[in-house]
Subunit: 110 residues, 2 copies
């Protein structure tokens, strides 16, 4: 079996933009680590027919779901159901890491 | 939006058997916390057409995937792909918590 690390040893950051670290990918889902330096973000967008889950693993992130925004801290998570606009921004002064599940994965990743 | 906690404040244990704490459920996946006292287990089983992911969040668990067994510690995860026999046992002396993602969920949960 292939054991994959998802803790700090797997985190990677880019000075340019949010860094996505792919952990698992099947035809049914993906699990990525989204690693955000302060100020980095994922632009709000939506997927028809796919659910996404954000679980904050480190730091804090301001998450948008539909027309609502909330700050989530490590240990909190939220669902963006099919069709709901969703995005996030690290508006804190510290690095943030978010476990991100999506089911099914986008066609380009499948 | 509904913010859900997945850290220690959400963990719950049963003296009788592995305790499953449901966090998220859609028609496309579920995410549970599996909370295991020492000696508790999930009996090996398989699902055709569904993938399961175990992410150890606390402690350690001995995981079986197909005919292989390995001990995973917090921060490690492993995929049981569709059809692969999988199960786990907390054979340590401490409590263990495992984030368990399954896509799609079993029909009885959908």
């Amino acid at each position: 079996m292939k054991i994959v690390r998802w803790d700090a040893s797997a985190w990677a950051f880019s000075p340019d933009k949010l860094k996505k670290v792919g952990l698992f990918q099947t035809e049914r889902f993906f699990l990525d680590l989204y690693c955000l330096e302060p100020g980095q973000s994922q632009t709000p967008h939506a997927h028809a027919g796919a659910d996404k889950l954000y679980l904050v693993a480190q730091g804090r992130a301001r998450v948008q779901i539909a027309d609502e925004e909330r700050t989530l801290v490590a240990g909190e998570g939220v669902l963006a159901a099919s069709g709901e606009v969703h995005g996030l921004v690290n508006d804190s002064g510290e690095r943030a890491v978010v476990l991100t599940f999506m089911s099914p994965p986008p066609p380009k990743n499948a």
